[in-house]
């Protein structure tokens, strides 16, 4: 395999692994990003990815009142089905209620 083909395959691999997008920035935002990149030592792409990730996470929290947003960690997965397709096997004769009662046995 030629060096060019190897390089091309590597590019295709990266292209399919991460979504690529063009981002048009105003001159002032581009300058600010450049300055921040210099200051933090992170690439502009890295900073843009971090900013988008933060925005997406915060967006999920907009459904909550502002005063409690800081307390919430968004769910990692959607709700989906109620039952797991692969339930836990409990020891014979033991119920989950009994295990939970044991775990919370600090009661009167």
């Amino acid at each position: 395999m030629s060096q060019l083909q190897t390089k091309h395959n590597r590019y295709r691999y990266w292209y399919h692994l991460f979504m690529s997008m063009n981002l048009r920035l105003s001159e002032s935002l581009a300058n600010d990003l450049k300055a921040l990149s210099k200051e933090t030592g992170k690439s502009q792409q890295e900073l843009a990815r971090e900013a988008i990730a933060e925005y997406v996470t915060n967006y999920k929290l907009l459904r909550f009142p502002p005063e409690i947003r800081h307390m919430i960690i968004p769910a990692e997965r959607e709700f989906g089905e109620f039952y797991s397709d692969n339930p836990v096997t409990l020891p014979p004769g033991v119920t989950s209620e009994e295990i939970m009662r044991e775990l919370r046995q600090d009661r009167i």
Binding site: L62, R63, F64, P65, I68, H70, M71, I72, I73, P74, A75, E76, R77, E78, F79, G80, F82, Y83, S84, N86, P87, V88, T89, L90, P91, T95, S96, E97, I99, M100, E102, L103, R104, Q105, D106, R107, I108
Partner: protein
């Protein structure tokens, strides 16, 4: 774009666990959760519940469970449920409940539900159901 605030349903650990160990009451809980999702409730629980699910899985003491199965069970139990951080505001509320029948962990769950303004609290636990009644949080969707 502003998103409309949704009503909050707090899920106790035993409800989350019934998703991964289908048992006697699981169908009625599934029914309640279905009702809640139709009514566009958002589901929340304390980070404490994530810990309790973890401890529950350890307590089942199943040596055949691989680490990846363990993590899948944890993720299945918590799917679609936002976690609420434990902070001094929650602990203050938890400390303020005067009910003698309420344990420390129960009071943290109830305090969390109150702190985030949950209108509903789903649990299989009789003591917590009683405490919810006493503080005026609904426990059914009928």
């Amino acid at each position: 774009m502003k998103m409309a605030a949704r009503r909050i349903c707090y899920l106790d650990s035993n409800v989350l666990i019934s998703r991964i160990t289908p048992e006697r009451n699981s169908d009625s809980i599934a029914h309640y959760l279905h009702q809640a999702s139709i009514q566009e409730f958002t589901f929340l629980t304390s980070v404490l519940a994530a810990l309790e699910v973890n401890r529950f899985l350890h307590r089942t003491n199943n040596p055949a469970m691989t680490p990846s199965q363990f993590h899948k069970h944890e993720a299945d139990a918590l799917a679609g449920t936002e976690l609420v951080r434990l902070n001094t505001q929650v602990l203050k509320r938890a400390s303020a409940f005067p009910f003698p029948h309420l344990g420390s962990l129960d009071s943290i769950h109830l305090g969390t539900a109150q702190a985030i303004g949950a209108s509903h609290f789903l649990t299989r636990d009789r003591q917590l159901l009683r405490a919810c009644d006493e503080v005026g949080i609904k426990t059914t969707f009928s």
